[in-house]
Symmetry: C5
Subunit: 358 residues, 5 copies
Amino acid sequence: MKANRKSRKAALRKVTEHLTGEFRVKQEIKIPEKVIIELISYNEETVIMAENKPLDELFEQYNDGRKNWINVDGLSDRTLIDQIAKKFDLHFLLIEDITNVDHQPKTDELEDHLFLTMKMFYRFDEEKIHYEHISFVLGKNYLLSFQEKEGDIFAPLRTRIKQENGIIRKRGTDYLLYRLVDTIVDSYYSVLEKIGEQVEAVEENISKNPTVKDFQQIQKIRKEFIYLRRVVYPLREAINKIAKNENGFIDENNEKYFADVYDHVIHLIDSLDTYKDLTSTMMDLYMNTINYKMNEVMKLLTIITTIFIPLSFIAGIYGMNFDNMPELRWDNGYFGVLAIMGSIFILMIVYFRYKKWF
Amino acid sequence: MKANRKSRKAALRKVTEHLTGEFRVKQEIKIPEKVIIELISYNEETVIMAENKPLDELFEQYNDGRKNWINVDGLSDRTLIDQIAKKFDLHFLLIEDITNVDHQPKTDELEDHLFLTMKMFYRFDEEKIHYEHISFVLGKNYLLSFQEKEGDIFAPLRTRIKQENGIIRKRGTDYLLYRLVDTIVDSYYSVLEKIGEQVEAVEENISKNPTVKDFQQIQKIRKEFIYLRRVVYPLREAINKIAKNENGFIDENNEKYFADVYDHVIHLIDSLDTYKDLTSTMMDLYMNTINYKMNEVMKLLTIITTIFIPLSFIAGIYGMNFDNMPELRWDNGYFGVLAIMGSIFILMIVYFRYKKWF
Amino acid sequence: MKANRKSRKAALRKVTEHLTGEFRVKQEIKIPEKVIIELISYNEETVIMAENKPLDELFEQYNDGRKNWINVDGLSDRTLIDQIAKKFDLHFLLIEDITNVDHQPKTDELEDHLFLTMKMFYRFDEEKIHYEHISFVLGKNYLLSFQEKEGDIFAPLRTRIKQENGIIRKRGTDYLLYRLVDTIVDSYYSVLEKIGEQVEAVEENISKNPTVKDFQQIQKIRKEFIYLRRVVYPLREAINKIAKNENGFIDENNEKYFADVYDHVIHLIDSLDTYKDLTSTMMDLYMNTINYKMNEVMKLLTIITTIFIPLSFIAGIYGMNFDNMPELRWDNGYFGVLAIMGSIFILMIVYFRYKKWF
Amino acid sequence: MKANRKSRKAALRKVTEHLTGEFRVKQEIKIPEKVIIELISYNEETVIMAENKPLDELFEQYNDGRKNWINVDGLSDRTLIDQIAKKFDLHFLLIEDITNVDHQPKTDELEDHLFLTMKMFYRFDEEKIHYEHISFVLGKNYLLSFQEKEGDIFAPLRTRIKQENGIIRKRGTDYLLYRLVDTIVDSYYSVLEKIGEQVEAVEENISKNPTVKDFQQIQKIRKEFIYLRRVVYPLREAINKIAKNENGFIDENNEKYFADVYDHVIHLIDSLDTYKDLTSTMMDLYMNTINYKMNEVMKLLTIITTIFIPLSFIAGIYGMNFDNMPELRWDNGYFGVLAIMGSIFILMIVYFRYKKWF
Amino acid sequence: MKANRKSRKAALRKVTEHLTGEFRVKQEIKIPEKVIIELISYNEETVIMAENKPLDELFEQYNDGRKNWINVDGLSDRTLIDQIAKKFDLHFLLIEDITNVDHQPKTDELEDHLFLTMKMFYRFDEEKIHYEHISFVLGKNYLLSFQEKEGDIFAPLRTRIKQENGIIRKRGTDYLLYRLVDTIVDSYYSVLEKIGEQVEAVEENISKNPTVKDFQQIQKIRKEFIYLRRVVYPLREAINKIAKNENGFIDENNEKYFADVYDHVIHLIDSLDTYKDLTSTMMDLYMNTINYKMNEVMKLLTIITTIFIPLSFIAGIYGMNFDNMPELRWDNGYFGVLAIMGSIFILMIVYFRYKKWF
């Protein structure tokens, strides 16, 4: 069965890479060799933090009477994850979803825990969108978080837990989950902002002097939106399921926080759709500007041709070598022809001006 | 946590500016330095108005037995808003929604008040759409309104409240809310009217002599519709929620007023969609007219080329310097060639006429 | 408040005119100066008709034991309408909907009457679609109808009521409403038929020799469909609401008649959508024919250029004045060159034939 | 009222003709002058068939204890149909739907019979789709079928009923209805097959040498799909209503047969949608091939022009008649110029080859 | 009736071939002449396998107290299938669905068995997608599977059943069904992967040097997606029906496995939609690159023409043979004209450079 699953995962990963590889969204290579597990056990009075210890020692610190946050950085050590799964009674398929980094965002309400998996996005440079797969398991007194890669996006929250008078300390692990999810959704806004800047830059270029590069940039941005949509759309359903809170995993007083996150996701989707409209508007602008330039080129060609071809024809006539061509003998024949040519030239110019061609 | 939220707000604001900045919808800079708070406490018999007083004095005038409208102009003084929040028991997240001027329109039904946030639109000149974020909190005997900027759109309503026999005085704060919302929805119509005039102007230009400017104008209008849609679409849901009145915040006799507002919002959305169809029709018209002109240009080029190139060729033949070219010696050779050229010319003209090229 | 509403109505009217003005759908100017009120009170045995009388006299004829149809032609006399509103206890907002001639079709089920407002369409000439706003109020023993303009579309029905053995006389006012609505929906079909004829005419033109005029005609038709859709789509919902008859305004035996009208509206919408598909098919056809002609033009240009430019070059060579050009001295040089030119000409023709260019 | 209905029907018929007339789907003219009525009364043991008899005689044969199928070919004799309506208590509006040959497919569940109306399609030749309007009324022991035109599509079923051991004989009239509907749905497949062959033929032409004819053929096929969709889409709803069998008109054991028909209709719709996608793919292919050819033409034009215009210019220079042109006097001037021309020619060719223009 | 069905099947098959034939998805011809039936009867302790035996012997091995998997390879032997149908009480229409290899995927919940039919996809080479029709019947202690063609995709599962400690042995036939379906869904991913590779290859070609071949390849890929969608979309509904498990065919503990498969199907559809977006993006890219090249060609043509036509005209003037042309007699006339020509040439070049044409 594992062989089976593995081949699917390989295929699935390749599909995902095709879908995202064009705009250079590649996995970071710093996947931690050693998985880092960290336990933060807190209540209103005290905080205990444990890190880099063997799992058994960590579990000794685990205290059912307090709130416990276990954060796992790295998904490579399956044995370790299986141990955690055993401790918290996580189903085999749930572990699959945690370790399958291509899984779409979703929420599952299981018998005694809530499962949420999503993507965490942030953007370092113009070339790459870095993201990671993250999963949460919310139980009665614990919150498990599984990150694909080591990262410090949650660092401010850890600091806040240490502070004695923080609101987090007073509330349950469901509130902590809200804070973590809220932090991740915030990170989407900064991605959107970066892409927004790219959109603006391209738009300015296009309205000035559109090149193939601008077109490729638009295509790149469109693909980024296609991919972002893939990640954000299912999130709506997932967060909504938590906010509805039909199975009571969330304290009633905290429901509105998830409703707030849901509002933000809706706003994100709405912004994405608006951006999508804007990029197709940009495409139109690009095509039109190109067409317009083409038009100008054709006009120039036509003006030049239309003016000089008849003139050349006249010159050609008097370049013929017939013996009997009376005009050639006239004293002012040459100047007369020049005058005629000049008149034709001026008439043509007037005609094109009248037609507003230039 | 505030740092966190602030960074999101900054990103969110930038996103909004990207989405709207292209068509120069910029915030007014006259954000009031001092927040203006105004209390209007009224019942059927008397009206008490208080303005520009410290909050405590204002609250002394507040009377639970009467209907109280507290209008706040400006969202910059957070302390003051927090005081109001405390007085009326407003949740922290609700205050967030009031002060986050990028929030989408929505309605929230909380335990003892109804919350509505929306955008207020009006249009001063051809260049800019001015809008502001406005929020309402409707409680048992009070209505709070929070405006982003100082404005006098509600001035007529204030006058009306002062009038002794006004219907507003007889009814509750829910009716007052209806009147305020109705005033705002009316303002959308004037925006739509202005854009409608632009559409008409552009359409006339295009059908005459389309230029790149007209295309850019169409794009600008399309973006305006995209943005308007963002603001008006969620309003439907928000107003509908109030009109359904599941939690009884609205007096039964006043439900139909909100149903009426809902009708207007539906009509607005419908008009927006129709306008959207019209702009894409206009785009087609523009592209087609451009194509048609291009076609005319190409035809001219082809006619000129097709007529004169063969003629020039004939002239070229008799411009050759061969010793033995009998025609050159003929007495009427020259005139014969001129006659042939004339015939070809006429035949070509007839051919193109027959083909209906001009 | 009236000032307020008026400004909205003005804006709304302008918006509607923008949306429809392009294809010259203008209001008829014959809005009746005097409002005409007519009462038809009937039961199975007798009919009483009263017209052009003061309202009080008319109301004296009104008889609760019989079925009463009051038809109002013209909405300009607000006092009169307010009197009727008072008599039948119509709400202020309902009167607004009756007199607001830009209101979308809709059905409202009120406490003791059913309200339906819709558009009545007919078409006189190629230039204009004439329509008017019409509203119905169906009560227990009465049916009120408010027409924007004087018209005789209901004349056949009046005649039928006068006939002793008509089915209308035997049934209630709900059946009368059905007959009126059915008459209106029928009028849509004749509009559709007219537009259908235009479509056919344009299509024939395009397939022969498409001009800019045809394109403009297509655009005009597309706009007509956009507007028709605006008027017919909401009708579906409105009629469906009546047919469902949840509040019992319609006699059970008459429900199926409204279901039948509903079927016709569905069929109308379906036909509109099909027409819409056809116009976009026509657009494709137009663009393609234009492109094809462009292609032909370019081919001609290319053939002429490709044949004659090399020939002209050869002529140009032997037009050079070098002292030492042996060919020029050859006896048959000229004829040889002519032969070569002829061969090139024929080869070119053969090549283009082979390439199937003409 | 009839006048009224008639004018609608006339308009409706014209609309339908517009919608379908372009691809020459015209009504067969062989509408039977005399309506043919046929009664087949059967049970497991015996079959009685009666045809071409006066209605009263036919009704004498009708037997409530057996299953009776009355088939009416031709809708022109309204008196006769009214008689049948009276016998089986059919509502006036239902008769309207039976005789209105432009009615869309639908199912109505009435008090004591089920009504189904649909289109029967078959295709004789490349030019025409022949179809007819058919309606069924299913009662407790009877099935009425009303065909617009005489036809023998049901002939095999009649034969089968006559056979003693046929399954039809054992089951009720609902099963007979299934068999008839199934036969009709089968006929759609053969239409689809024919169109599919056309699609294939056009596609092959386009990929070889696309002409305007192919484009017109695509347009014709697209219209055929638009029309087919109009006929098949509402069928889904209609058959689904029967298969759901909420009012028990169908024997429970026969429900699955209608579910099977429903499956086929879904498959038909799905195939239609896929074909629609294919035709738009074909349109792209056509446009692209045309564009590609245009491109080739332009390239040829450009190559010829770019090569010969500079060469002609050189020849032109040495065709000038200045007294003092030293080159003309050189002994090898002519050959030198020829060599230069040759070099330019070869360089141009090399350049275009390098640019992969040919 | 069979004749009837057969003709439909023939039509249906042709339709399917049209829809898929273009991209050479043809049936494998190795349809087994002899149908192979195989029985695997297992429980936690033992496994009995029987193959290539007469049906009666096979059925003797069938044991209601164990779990029985009967796999049928090949659908040609109708008698045999009818025997199985009789044994397991399968309805006539269900057998139709099993043997109709063009049937769309669907799930039917019958009285005492669950029926699922779907397509099994795999891809051998660049030219062909090979697929087969597969159906499952899940009863209390048995699972029947009917494959269109002989294949070894289930071989690993057979091996796994033989293993003593496999999870399959411990669970019911519903779990076995899950494993089979899961294997098939996995096979879709490998198809998607192959197409993904093609997409990538084409995209690279296009961005370099687009040819008609690339366009045809895009069209081919688009058709492949259209067909894949036809096969995968209905699967969603089918699997969802099983996962919902309203009639209890699946053990509650196994429900989540089907939910997992459902997730994968959703992911597949999502990936397909994203690919579809990508191909239309690719189409844009192709069209744009072609347009851009066309533009370049036109520019070159215009530059050459615009430079040399005026120069040729000047040469033409001094090629005229007038007796009185003073310039011809000037000593430096020739060199002066050359200088003027040179200046014009340089000015033109500068102008085009300034206009950024090259």
